[in-house]
């Protein structure tokens, strides 16, 4: 059977669109290998000079480290809070539970600049401006919606009778959660945690409002770098990001198949 026009249209169309999605991101890799001192493709040969600059720059390394550990703390706290929340809501399963689920995802709907403005004023009162705690708290709030969505999806797939049976057999809530529920929803918790980490690791707008100088995260360095200079080091940071993402996605894909 020859493929119909419709099939050809959709088939070629989607490969073009996928190329539009992916190729622009990959462009940072050749640029990071440039032998020039400005952003552009390599002129005469490939060079690792800008990678060298990156690994010897305490500022960039420190900012990377800051972003990583903040991201980890955020992931753990948000997953912890979010998981308990989802379990409670799942047990309740009433109208009130539905309302609080909506409250939890409000941060997805509010424009980033608006919420950052709100954070700023409140953080000033709390003395949290330009502090790690201030950034972590903001990021936990921004990560919670993703954790709850992801964990709740896992809970919905779980057999309702299991935990109820455990309860009927006399297990306490704590024990039921530990021995029955958590093992069953672990995949949702892990992907929720990864989401929270990524949200924190990439977040820029609230960091711009809430930090001045003491806290430097990687996105903030990139943001300032893009605005301030045409230093190819940004391309290096971008390439490292993209490579890690590529490796992680391929690994995940391999594991799945």
């Amino acid at each position: 059977m020859t493929p119909s026009a419709l099939r050809i249209f959709f088939g070629t169309g989607s490969w073009i669109i996928l190329a539009f999605l992916v190729l622009p991101i990959l462009v940072v890799i050749p640029v990071s290998l440039t032998d020039t001192s400005f952003i552009g493709l390599p002129k005469d040969h490939l060079s690792l000079q800008h990678y060298d600059t990156f690994v010897h720059s305490t500022k960039w390394l420190f900012a990377s480290w800051t972003s990583i550990w903040i991201g980890c703390v955020v992931a753990v706290v948000a997953t912890g809070l979010g998981t308990l929340f989802c379990i409670g809501v799942w047990f309740l399963s009433d109208r009130a539970a539905m309302i609080v689920r909506w409250i939890m995802i409000v941060p997805i709907l509010v424009p980033p600049v608006v919420q950052s403005l709100g954070f700023y004023k409140f953080w000033v009162t709390l003395g949290l401006i330009d502090s790690y705690l201030g950034v972590i708290l903001a990021h936990v709030l921004l990560g919670l919606p993703y954790v709850t969505i992801s964990v709740f999806a896992s809970l919905s797939n779980m057999d309702r009778r299991l935990p109820l049976a455990a309860r009927n057999l006399g297990a306490s809530i704590g024990m039921t959660i530990r021995t029955v529920i958590i093992p069953a929803i672990r995949p949702g918790m892990i992907s929720g945690g990864i989401f929270a980490f990524i949200v924190s690791f990439d977040e820029i707008v609230s960091v711009l409002f809430l930090t001045v100088r003491r806290v430097e995260t990687l996105p903030k360095m990139i943001w300032e770098g893009i605005q301030e200079s045409v230093d190819p080091v940004i391309a290096v940071v971008a390439s490292i990001f993209v490579l890690i993402t590529l490796i992680a996605t391929s690994l995940a894909a391999l594991r799945r198949s």
Binding site: L6, F9, F10, G11, S14, I17, L18, F20, L21, V22, P24, I25, V27, V31, L41, L81, F85, G88, V89, F91, L92, A97, V100, R101, I103, M104, I105, L109, V110, P112, V113, V114, Q115, L117, G118, F119, K121, F122, L137, L141, L144, I149, F152, S156, I173, I198, I204, V205, L208, I222, W223, I226, Q227, I234, A235, V242, L246, T249, A253, R256
Partner: protein, 280 residues
Amino acid sequence: MPHIPEKLRYWMLIIPALAVMIIFYIFPVLNIWGISITEPSVGIENYERMFASNAVKVSFVLTFRIAAITTVACLILGYVVAYTISNLAGRVRPLMLGLVLLPFWVSVLIRSFAWIVLLGRSGLVNDGLMATGIISQPLRLMHNELGVLIAMVHVMLPFAVLPMLTNMRGISGSYIQAARGLGASEWRAFREVYFPQTLPGVMSGGLLVFVLSLGFYVTPALLGGGRVMMISEYITYQIQEFLNWGLGAALSVVLLMATAVVLLIASRFVNLKTTFLERR
């Protein structure tokens, strides 16, 4: 151990996260309303100034226009991809899905940077086109609305594809086969049988993209050349440069209400629950 009612026990699981969210998020965001009517002095002068300002009007119109164009473009492009993945991909389906998800994991900042590298006057696209002799003068691809739109569509496209994929997964192929069996052309079967069934997914993806685009800051600020000033950038600018918190807050309140109105209207056509609460 004193007896605690079952329901209360469940609420005790909910309370920590809920309390954190209400105290540190909901309250500060609602408080913006307070700032807008107390800074620099008590009254509604910020709103008066805002509604009298042509710049604010222009910025709002611009914001809605860019969000609308981005949404339409994402829906068209996203539909093609989602349809192919759901119905035609076969063995390459995991690869295609992976390619849709890949940009999702790369930060918006990095993606905007990549577009700056590509779209600049001496960027890679212009260099390439000039080298091959297609153009003799560099095109203006960045520092204007076109540049912002290209980069925004790139950022938002996965948000449009995923809800449509979820929706299409649930559509049985038997209707199409039945239509084809009854003699409908492939195009007609698609248009009259398949497409209407995918509308919930389209609506859902469109709403997601539109709402996220309304408040978008990073990409327009980096690629707009300062002249494509969407409302989020306008707010930041007022606050950072002129310490104009009152006006910034008033603008935020209006942006927030605009978002709420969009959601309210959308709730008549879109299943908000599947769009937001049961994403992915």
